[in-house]
């Protein structure tokens, strides 16, 4: 579903991402972990077309995102870590816009949106201006916008930040549901507990390089210790 080959990005003399390769399989929730400044966001930015890689190839559902960016973008939806969103429109306007861009059929819009709005408890706020939303509400809106498009792969940068425990639980369920139809989820997180519970596989990146990749059991086997993901993470990124 997502294939990264020898991806490299340099900022001046600093090597932000150094020759990384990995793939995300269909139906998989893939966690991308790493300490601050490890290269997670840079990698995600290259995948979604916000940054140009210096070297390497990114294939999204078999489409090269450098050679055919428009078709590549039709395969994914993206939620960034900062919740920067148009402030002067209503939540309803934003979702309308996303539906128009992803060409969601008019008949599906009402049913799907109402269901998502109810699940994430945003229905009563949807006609309000986004400038009045809290960080968590903006995050929920972005997630609904990403899910309504029903993309082949959901790319999320720290999706749980700002969400209350109930919303976090709902999001976890929604991500799992999304993968049931053969779609995938690729997300970065600092919340190792979430990664441990939700992800089929994880990759840990540090100083621009992937230091380990696989399911939790595979990683435990590799390092030869039966530790929690938190301990593994701390040990590998020290």
């Amino acid at each position: 579903m997502l294939e990264i080959k020898q991806l490299t990005k340099r900022y001046g003399s600093k090597l932000a991402v150094n020759n990384i390769s990995f793939s995300v399989k269909p139906g998989e929730i893939f966690g991308f972990l790493g300490p601050n400044g490890a290269g997670k966001t840079t990698t995600i930015k290259m995948i979604v077309g916000l940054l140009k890689p210096d070297l390497g190839e990114i294939m999204i559902n078999g489409i090269n995102n450098q050679l055919d960016p428009l078709r590549a973008k039709r395969q994914f939806s993206f939620v960034p870590d900062n919740s920067e969103i148009f402030e002067k429109i209503t939540g309803y306007d934003y979702l309308q816009f996303i539906c128009d861009v992803y060409k969601v059929p008019a008949t599906d819009r009402e049913v799907k949106l109402n269901s998502l709005l109810e699940k994430l408890v945003l229905k009563n706020d949807i006609n309000g201006y986004i400038s009045g939303y809290s960080h968590g509400m903006k995050q929920k809106l972005l997630l609904i916008g990403a899910l309504i498009a029903n993309p082949k792969i959901l790319i999320l940068d720290e999706p749980m930040v700002g969400l209350d425990p109930k919303a976090q639980h709902t999001v976890k369920e929604l991500l799992s549901e999304h993968c049931l139809n053969g779609n995938s989820v690729f997300f970065s997180t600092h919340v190792l507990e979430v990664a441990e519970k939700v992800c089929n596989r994880v990759a840990i990146i540090n100083k621009g390089e992937i230091i380990t990749i696989g399911s939790l059991d595979e990683i435990r086997k590799k390092i030869g210790k039966d530790e929690s993901l938190e301990n593994i993470f701390l040990e590998l990124t020290e």
């Binding site: 973008k73 306007d93 816009f97 128009d100 008019a106 009045g132």
Partner: protein, 563 residues
């Protein structure tokens, strides 16, 4: 005072930091290129600036022969106040209401009046930088030609520094009151926009009223004034001080004895300090109260849930819709983009009302009869160049700021991006052109005897000017695609402090000059009017098409490379 200095230094570093500037020159290639472009634009503007200074000198020399030196200084004060009315209000809104640092400072254990007054001083510094280029030449020319003494030069420098303070405070008070009054009104953004226009229009009209009342109208009055001028060189400063008493202090500083100059400057400083003190109290009590009310409870912005139908739109229309809503909802965008289409017609109406009398009407009728074709082509030229004065396309990407990731990651084709982003300025221009041509036709009905023919001219001009504007809009969009200003703290920066807007003006005027030269020196001599119109229509269309193809070609590469 310590708290004031602390916050002022911080804000100074944030807004005008030389260290940050040096670092960006050293490490940021895009910034270096932008700086080079800015220097290039400034060099291009240099001849015009020299012309402006020469004009100032010529005005003074003419005034001197008529004993009108005092009127010259009144003009400078007038111009200074005009600039503050025009630009100050938006600086106040941007720095006080749309800047993130108020949110950061409010929870700190600092009395709000200190950081708010610090913010005021930052705005004052920006106004001063503007005054350095526009107002200072007046003062220097006055000082040199009047052969001022050293103490008068010192007075002149202090007066120059103090002139913006009081008008800016007055504008500040009015703006904060308007924002507070409209805080809980339904459709407050629209009401505020109307409020700003009424306020600015009202203040400018008041200025015009004073200026008209203040200058002698009838021949008898003129003789009377001339006699007074011979006896009193400060006559106009005296007269103007009735409306704006500070003028009297400036008069003492520039034309008085050493003691008078000292007292004039001293009182001016004292009055300014008192105003600043009162303003700081006003900000502490009125601004903070309103600001907290507006930001404390997001729930006040909620609308009751009502099920809505989710309509399907084309992608380009969806982009244009979001753009339109944002332009209308952010007052700074609204005024800067739609301000021109509101102010120019108002100025046209004022000018056409002031034209009167049988003699003038006869003269205009004859002029229109003889130069009808030239006049309509001038209208086409004017409407075309106006496209560069409406900074919608030139700030299309910049205005998105930190939300730019949305449009850049969504699956939107280059064609839809370009169409959607051009739709807003095209509709805006269409509305403007219709208003201006309708007003022109109303005006012409007074002097023309064939209004149905004029109507056809008007319709043709509307279409041709719109087609001729398209290349300007596409170039502006391309410039903003290549070098958008995305990292801004308040929306004012995206429009007012954006080099792309300046480049857009340059493009518009260069394009207008080419159209004018081609008409005046080539087409007019050899071709009939109809052929000229066809040439303009076709060339505008073809140029727009090729520019569209050019921008479309590398659109995605530029989109990725934006940051």
């Amino acid at each position: 005072m310590k708290e004031f200095m602390l916050t002022f230094k911080l804000l100074l570093k944030q807004n005008l930091s030389l260290g940050y500037f040096k670092e960006r020159i050293k490490f940021d290639k895009k910034f270096r290129n932008m700086l080079l472009a800015m220097i290039f634009v400034l060099i291009l503007c240099l001849p015009s600036y020299i012309l402006l200074i020469n004009t100032v000198i010529n005005i003074f020399e003419t005034f001197q022969t008529l004993y009108l030196e005092s009127l010259f200084i009144v003009m400078a004060i007038f111009l200074s106040i005009f600039l503050i009315i025009f630009f100050g209000m938006f600086q106040i809104i941007a720095y006080f209401y749309f800047s993130s640092d108020v949110k950061l400072m409010t929870p700190l254990p600092i009395n709000p009046k200190y950081y708010l007054i610090s913010k005021f001083f930052i705005i004052y510094l920006w106004e001063l930088i503007l005054s350095l280029f526009v107002i200072l030449p007046f003062f220097i020319v006055y000082g040199v030609y009047q052969q001022l003494f050293i103490y008068q030069w010192v007075g002149l420098a202090i007066c120059f520094l103090l002139i913006p303070v009081i008008p800016l405070i007055i504008i500040g008070v009015l703006t904060v009151l308007l924002m507070n009054i409209t805080n809980f009104v339904k459709n407050k953004d629209a009401i505020r926009m109307i409020g700003y226009i009424i306020m600015i229009g009202g203040l400018l009209l008041f200025q015009m009223y004073i200026y008209r009342n203040f200058l002698p109208q009838s021949p008898e009055e003129q003789v009377n004034v001339f006699e007074k001028l011979i006896n009193n060189s400060s006559y106009f400063l005296d007269r103007f001080s009735v409306y704006y008493p500070i003028t009297k202090l400036i008069d003492y500083a520039l034309n008085g004895t050493a003691l008078e100059a000292f007292l004039g400057v001293f009182i001016f400083i004292l009055v300014s300090v008192i105003f600043l003190y009162l303003f700081s109290l006003f900000l502490e009590r009125v601004f903070v109260k309103g600001y907290l009310k507006e930001h404390a409870n997001p729930a006040i912005k909620k609308k009751k849930y009502q099920p809505k139908t989710y309509k399907k739109r084309s992608v380009s229309v969806a982009i244009a819709r979001i753009d339109f809503i944002t332009l209308l909802k952010v007052p700074i965008y609204a005024f800067n983009t739609f301000g021109v289409i509101l102010i120019l017609p108002v100025m046209f109406i004022i000018m056409s009302i002031s034209v009167g009398g049988n003699e003038t009407t006869e003269m205009l009728t004859s002029f229109y009869k003889n130069y009808k074709i030239d006049l309509w082509l001038a209208i086409i030229l004017f409407l075309t160049v106006t496209a560069s004065m409406i900074p919608i396309a030139a700030t299309s990407f910049s205005r998105e700021g930190k939300t730019n990731w949305i449009m850049r990651t969504l699956p939107i084709s280059s064609k839809d991006h370009i169409k959607g982003r051009l739709l807003t300025p095209v509709i805006t221009l269409l509305v403007f052109n219709v208003i201006m041509i309708t007003l022109t036709l109303i005006f012409l009905s007074k002097i023309s005897n064939n209004i149905s023919e004029d109507f056809i001219y008007g319709a043709i001009s509307l279409i041709i000017s719109l087609v001729l504007s398209l290349p300007i809009l596409i170039i502006n969009l391309y410039v903003d695609l290549k070098k958008p200003l995305l990292n801004w703290e308040n929306p004012q920066q995206a429009v007012k402090q954006n080099l792309n807007v300046l480049i857009s003006l340059g493009v518009g005027f260069a394009y207008g000059t080419i159209l004018f030269l081609s008409y005046n020196f080539v087409f007019k001599r050899f071709l009939p009017y109809q052929a000229i119109l066809i040439i303009y229509f076709v060339s505008g269309f073809v140029l727009a098409y090729y520019l569209y193809r050019f921008i479309k070609k590398d659109f995605y590469l530029n989109l990725i490379d934006m940051e």
